[in-house]
């Protein structure tokens, strides 16, 4: 009896030991597994402060991409690892953006960072990514972002100089088409890195086109009132008003132009605030017949874009705009790079980004471009822009793609020049 119970004791002890051992091994395996099963990506957007709407829209668009990617099996080369995005809030302030970037890299240990919408915030963040050796797949349009020889900064956003070049081309084309060209121009722009870059490129491109600049006006983007600038515009009476604004200032500017009845042949924005879905409800009919110049529009015929736009609108409550579409695409390119790197090591992901070359049917880029690769500065090789006019269709104010002709929405002719305020119904 005694012997038997002793045997039993030993048997129980062995069983328990084995169980514990199995548990520990299993747990450790699980933990190891969990590490490779999740890849951390940092994203910095202005989630609060005056640019909170676009920040929240960007996050919503990025979330959709991440969900799609994870549902489709995550990152293949890492055994189906899932992508997890950790968001940082720049509040629209460069100093906060830099701090958030440092936190994402040092505390959360993300493998790659994307963001930050504003050029003025993105620019100092590139320095942080360079210092820590973590790739920064940046948005923002200021040329400088990829022109300082940094090895860890990549961008598939178009540069401001490309935007301005195509914007001026768009307006010149319209002038030729209707035989009523713009000869004088007013420049109105917010005074941070983005607006200053636009200003530099306007001087060059408008100068080459032989357009005389009659007003050259920068303003602080947290301004209370743009009426003083608009009074000046009215007195100078330019043919074309070229503006570069974030959303709150774009709303103030366009509303005040309507109130003060400033007539011009063309009033044309430069993406950003003008393309923000808050812009149309903010200004109402004041924006009718004004123009914008952007990389992508929902009405450009691209396979599958419509379904995505509907999904986005249902989930995020606003129409898809060019900035959100680009950010959505960015998430796919990040996954492609991690997949090719086969690692969560930031250095290896950087090398993969450098070598990446994606062609059109690939879901990574199919909605925006036909081909994507980076040049030696980390900048995407090209980006084409489209021209848009704000029009009222079936009682609804819409952005209608009108230029170039091959992507223009069918059945809608551009209105050029813009009708005078006195000829419109108020």
């Amino acid at each position: 009896m005694e012997k038997k119970s002793g045997m039993k004791k030993i048997g129980v002890m062995i069983a328990v030991t084995v169980l514990i051992a199995l548990f520990v091994v299993g747990y450790r395996n699980g933990a190891l597994h969990a590490q490779t099963r999740e890849v951390l990506v940092g994203a910095v957007f202005p989630l609060s402060g005056p640019l909170a709407p676009i920040g929240q829209h960007l996050r919503c668009g990025a979330d959709i991409a991440i969900e799609e990617i994870n549902q489709a099996g995550g990152i293949k080369s890492l055994g189906g690892a899932r992508l997890k995005v950790i968001y940082g809030d720049s509040t629209g302030d460069a100093k906060v953006g830099v701090t958030e970037m440092e936190k994402l890299i040092t505390k959360d240990k993300v493998s790659v960072v994307t963001g930050a919408y504003q050029s003025g915030v993105t620019l100092p963040m590139t320095t942080v990514s360079e210092r820590y050796g973590v790739p920064f797949y940046a948005t923002g349009s200021e040329d400088q972002i990829t022109e300082r020889g940094y090895k860890f900064t990549f961008r598939s956003n178009e540069k401001t100089s490309w935007r301005v070049r195509d914007q001026v081309k768009f307006i010149m084309d319209m002038g030729r088409r209707f035989n009523d060209p713009v000869k004088t121009a007013a420049l109105v722009y917010e005074n941070t890195a983005w607006g200053q870059g636009a200003h530099r490129d306007w001087l060059k491109n408008l100068g080459e086109a032989g357009i005389k600049i009659v007003i050259d006006e920068s303003y602080p983007n947290a301004t209370t009132d743009l009426t003083p600038v608009v009074v000046k515009l009215k007195a100078a009476n330019p043919d074309g008003i070229f503006y570069c604004s974030y959303v709150s200032d774009a709303i103030l500017l366009i509303k005040t132009i309507a109130e003060m009845e400033v007539n011009a042949k063309a009033i044309v924005g430069l993406s950003g605030g003008t393309a923000d879905p808050n812009f149309i409800p903010g200004v109402g009919k004041s924006c009718l017949y004004t123009f914008d110049c952007v990389r992508w529009e929902p009405d450009i015929p691209r396979h599958g874009a419509k379904a995505l736009c509907e999904k986005y609108q249902k989930r995020c409550g606003v129409i898809m705009d060019t900035e959100v579409m680009k950010q959505y695409t960015y998430m796919y390119v990040i996954v492609e790079a991690i997949d090719q790197a086969g690692s969560t090591d930031p250095k290896k992901i950087r090398d993969a980004l450098e070598k990446i070359h994606i062609k059109a049917p690939d879901p990574a880029i199919k909605f925006v471009e036909d081909e994507l690769y980076f040049d030696h500065t980390g900048q995407v090789f090209k980006g084409s822009m489209v021209g848009v006019q704000f029009r009222e269709i079936d009682g609804q104010i819409q952005r209608v793609t009108i230029w170039p002709k091959q992507v223009a929405r069918k059945g809608i002719d551009p209105v050029w020049p813009m009708p005078k305020w006195s000829e419109r119904k108020k």
């Binding site: 005056p50 007195a235 959303v247 200004v283 109402g284 209105v415």
Partner: protein
Amino acid sequence: MMNGSHRKVAPKEKRFHGGEKMETYIQAIVNGFLMGSMYGLIAFGLTLVFGIMRVINFAHASLLMMAMFLAYGLCQVGMNPYLSLIIVVPVFFGLGYVLQRTLIERALKMEAGVREPMSVLLLTAGLLVLFENLVLLGVGPDYRTAKTIYTGATFKVSGIIIKTAWFYGFLATMISYFLLSSFLKWTWLGQAIRAAGQDRDAARLMGIDHYHIYGVAFGIGMALVGLSGTILVPFYYIHPAVGWVFGIGSFIIVILGGLGSTAGAFWGGVIIGLIESLGAQFMNATWTIVVVYGVFLAILFIRPAGLFGLKFEW
């Protein structure tokens, strides 16, 4: 469509250039005066609270934002924006009174012997962040604009365009300024408020319940914030961070005009409005900010108490 309507642009008429320039300047002065008076109104509440309680209310900006949201909400249910004053102003008076009696009074009592209590400063700064983020969570980050009959409406006086909503805003400023000055000068409660502002201990010895008086004063300050928010709604966008746009300007106006001086707030606002509006006709709009701060520094140098900053203002 309208493509052919004015394809050939007639050569611009040669107008009398001096006259055209003059018109622009008059337009700029009118705009600057109207907008500036509203800056003054926004700063009123801030200067009143400081003058009487010696409390710098950092939450001013987010309270303004909340007033705008309340007025906007009332507009959305079909109320005339100026009629909504009968709700917004009493609600904000009550909110101010309650804020004072519950939170600020406690902080004041903790540092009763200190003339400019620090913990109150921190308290109001905390409320600023709290209110803004609560609203951001509650209503989301989107920009809204009220669609009222005054939105975008203008009228002309001999060629000068006047925005209807600005004109009403100006009227509201003048009326509230007149009413407030009369109240402080001629009523018992007004005199008690001034007394508590001049010397809280002496006032208490005269039988004035100075904490109740502070509550009323803070309530009046907040009622003015409610009024400012309401008159902004017909022409301004509404957003959880909108307070910041006006916030810093209000502090400059208050210090420029003299801390605690209501006349100073009005004229401080008008000066800033005129510099922004008229100054922009001669220089870049970015530079007008430099001029604003330059004038601000110059006045502080010449008159450190501000333009109207007397020791006993009332």
